[in-house]
Symmetry: C2
Subunit: 548 residues, 2 copies
């Protein structure tokens, strides 16, 4: 594999390819809505001012690790530790920007083989050191923010050297090392006329191991399937040994061990490679915008499309708030045309909802599917906005986390969270979570923005992705965020929905997992963890929480 | 739910709707190939001559169970015990037909609620009694044949009273009681314009709980998906408590607890209900036959169709042997026409392979998919045989287990087994398993028939379903069968394939599960079982074997 991965900013997302701009109209709307007279100025501290604890690893542990993987692969310098101190959740960024790297690992170890991982895990077991597997570092739920779980020290296990890629073209399978950046895998596959088709918003930085460990979904997963549907087999090294699930398309040989390891978030062991289903690169790509009179009409249209097997590969429905903010904040192609707006107003869509549909595949397969989809959207009152609106979404599909850095600079809380439920319960959930976020953040003397879109369609339901913004409470940003997050999480579990559709459990959702899978579900996962990781060194606190 | 389930024969499959006939040509071919001068005459013993052990349940255990579920729901009569003594594997039938019901449970308990199951499990834990959950009783791998696992007694827990059905039409979900017969569920759904689309060969007798507990696949699962893809949520009562997985279309909340329970084969607890994805009843159904010059050409055609997303909902490719036997043994529609045979011979298909493709769905969706499939099959040299060949397959799709009863009467070993692997490894696996079965059974002085078909297409691979027939070694039928089964299983695990694609592990595959998921995989499942079933009363010996 070639192509060095782009490095993230130590305090934020990445170096944007071009400056992230907010339109004047967008600025005005946000300031007004958030009750701010102007932007605050809250830049991150300089790297030199970041404080981090003295390394706590014993000399003998360090010596053993260096012997196991080589001196060059055990890093203890200040910047490396800061760069592995946290993932990219709002709370992570607030702490880093304030110069707090208190969670930094005591060392970063970069093993080169499963044998070396085995050696490192053995050393950590005998020395009582926590191990945090690390791929792209993009977790937004605290999944890679080192926890000690009562142990004296922690090392981050960076999987960068697990970078092999092997393709079985006849079976349309690619076996990728866990440390490979998704973007590099996609580029290598595309060079062979193939695609993984997995494009989460973190695509530019995320790793294959991260995808699998967090049970991720991508923007095109309605068409290509979630990562759990793409993983045919995987390999893991745990403190108790190694496991390699069979490379078979399907099996009835008991409970799925593969599905027990997908989503295990480094708490059972270190995923080292995954065999993933790939497809031929799409021959055609067509993205379009549509408008619906309101959210309910859009939901019914997408449900009908999905249940009629006429679904696009990408399908997103913004609610009224997200549509209005999107219109104001950025160039959205044809949607911003004066003529288009007049047209929408005349048709009763002046407070309408934007839908983006995207089709990818062989021309012969796409054409009839797109035609059927179009007929169904029309039947539900959809107005076609054309390809410009679709292409505008494609251009900005990875932009949000860069924008978040800008908003944090300006004193704005910006957070996203996602859930999923059945079609029957979708609108009630939409209302409840929106209300929970709105009231929690309004309590703090701010008029928050709470926007949402439906995405990831399934025959039985869909996901809801919420974005909220509020004036950040200076000095208490994390408390403000935590209260809102907990209010939303309570609304989600009370509605029988899932606490996370594609961000994983990490540390932020761990307290709510019990509501979702029950005492016996937790007990079963604890039992599995106990067998894989009997001394509890693997990613303490992630997935199962402090008790885990 | 209405409609009393058809009862199986105590010694075999079911009462066939009409007499199972083998054509004269088929009889002649089989006798010649099996080296038999005529059929043997080996009818089952009469019910009165069946021997079964004295019930071993203590009076106190029986009393407690009667108090928990009512006298009428604890059955200890001879016929009920014989009818629950075994599933429907070859070895099960051989023993039953010989009058051996030594595995019969000591009682059959028919609980009516989760509370009652909880009470029965508590009694069995304290009294040291094994519990075997029972739905339709169609297991062909020993899954419901009671084992004691060192305990003094066993009860079969018949789920017949778990027969509720609730439909969420908007989310296309049906929540079905585990004891419901699949056929009754399908009839009730079809009355509402819906279908589950799950049609294993056991469809006429299997239960919903059995589907889920064994990770089944149906004949149309290429289109509708395997049962593990259709189960959105499920409920289980284990000795350690109850679990109800969330009714959500997808989740990233850690490892999949649902996937840990699907396929748990009654060894973790009692599955009581499942929420399943259903679809609108298909508007059109079209089944067709095709011929390919040889097996390799057929495999390539099906691979191309599946990887081009042009796959039929049912797709089956018989190898040369299965095609020849099928032609000789039964009416196969147009294939038996003299004109058709002449045509095939002229095109070089005289030793060809039969393909059945079946399309189901909305007309608008099916038409372009079928057209694309047709073009691809033609490109690979396929010759269309028309709808009569397809309809002939549809008429006989559930026939094989009835035919097995006839063959057993005549002194013929008749066994089937299935596996799956990637497209890259499919032909080598086909050869290896065929050879293993052939040599094992030939050693016994018989020229066996070994036939196979490809079915259940996936982008990464497919399943292989083998049928073998040989002259049964009288008095040593089970040993003869076990040797062949083990030879095939060794070939399967040596090729990295799965030990079972849709029959489950049961008792017959338990020894081979370790080859497939490794020591750590076994350890993880044992750990989960230990948490759900700490005293090891649940279906001892199934799934994890005697050590489990």
């Amino acid at each position: 594999m070639t192509g060095a991965p782009r490095q993230m900013r130590w305090w934020g997302w990445g170096e944007p390819a071009e400056e992230v701009k907010i339109t004047t109209a967008g600025e005005a709307l946000m300031l007004a809505r958030l009750g701010m007279s102007g932007w605050a100025d809250r830049p991150p501290v300089s790297l030199e001012r970041v404080s981090l604890p003295q390394p706590a690893l014993s000399a003998s542990a360090l010596r053993s690790m260096r012997a196991a993987v080589g001196d060059a692969n055990v890093l203890t310098d200040r910047e490396t530790r800061i760069r592995r101190a946290a993932g990219r959740s709002y709370a992570d960024l607030i702490r880093l920007r304030a110069g707090d790297a208190g969670t930094a690992p005591d060392a970063v170890v970069v093993p080169g083989s499963e044998d070396e991982i085995g050696s490192i895990l053995a050393i950590c077991e005998s020395e009582g050191v926590a191990v945090i597997p690390f791929g792209g570092g993009t977790s937004v739920v605290g999944g890679v923010t080192p926890g000690r779980g009562g142990l004296g020290a922690a090392v981050t296990l960076d999987l960068a050297r697990f970078d092999s890629l092997e393709v079985d073209r006849r079976s349309l399978l690619a076996t990728a090392g866990a440390g490979l950046r998704a973007r590099n895998v996609e580029a290598a596959l595309q060079a062979q006329g193939l695609t993984l088709g997995h494009f989460p918003q973190s695509f530019e930085y995320a790793s294959i191991g991260g995808y699998v460990a967090t049970r991720s979904a991508g923007q095109a997963s309605t068409g290509y399937g979630r990562i759990d549907e793409l993983v045919v087999a995987l390999q893991m090294v745990a403190p108790a040994g190694r496991i390699r699930t069979p490379r078979v398309p399907a099996s009835a040989a008991g409970p799925s061990v593969r599905e027990l390891l997908v989503g295990s978030e480094g708490a059972f062991g270190v995923i080292t490679a995954a065999t993933l289903a790939v497809r031929p690169s799409p021959e055609v790509r067509a993205f379009e915008g549509w408008s619906f009179r309101n959210f309910a009409a859009g939901v019914e249209a997408l449900r009908d499309v999905e249940q009629s097997e006429a679904s696009p590969d990408v399908a997103r429905l913004s609610d009224e708030e997200e549509t209005a903010i999107g219109l104001a904040m950025a160039d959205r192609g044809s949607l911003t045309d004066r003529a288009a707006r007049t047209y929408l107003r005349a048709r009763g869509h002046d407070r309408g909802c934007l839908v983006i549909v995207g089709f990818e595949g062989e021309r012969e397969e796409v054409a009839p599917r797109k035609a059927r989809c179009t007929r169904i959207l029309r039947r539900h009152g959809g107005l076609a906005l054309g390809r410009r609106a679709g292409e505008a979404w494609v251009r900005t599909r990875y932009l949000a986390p860069y924008l978040r850095d800008v908003l944090l600079d300006r004193g704005v809380l910006a957070e996203t969270l996602e859930t999923a439920t059945t079609w029957s319960r979708l609108e009630a959930l939409h209302a409840a979570v929106g209300q929970a976020l709105g009231s929690s953040l309004a309590e703090e003397g701010s008029r928050p923005l709470v926007a949402c879109h439906v995405s990831h369609l399934y025959p039985s339901g869909a996901s809801l992705y919420f974005t909220c913004m509020a004036r950040a409470r200076q000095g208490a940003e994390v408390e403000q965020w935590r209260a809102a997050k907990e209010a939303a999480s309570r609304a989600i579990v009370e509605h029988g929905a899932t606490i996370t559709h594609h961000h994983a459990v990490g540390r932020d959702h761990a307290a709510f997992l019990r509501h979702e899978i029950g005492d016996l579900g937790i007990a079963a996962l604890q039992a599995a963890k106990g067998r894989f990781d009997p001394h509890g060194i693997m990613n303490p606190g992630a997935l199962l929480g402090p008790e885990g």
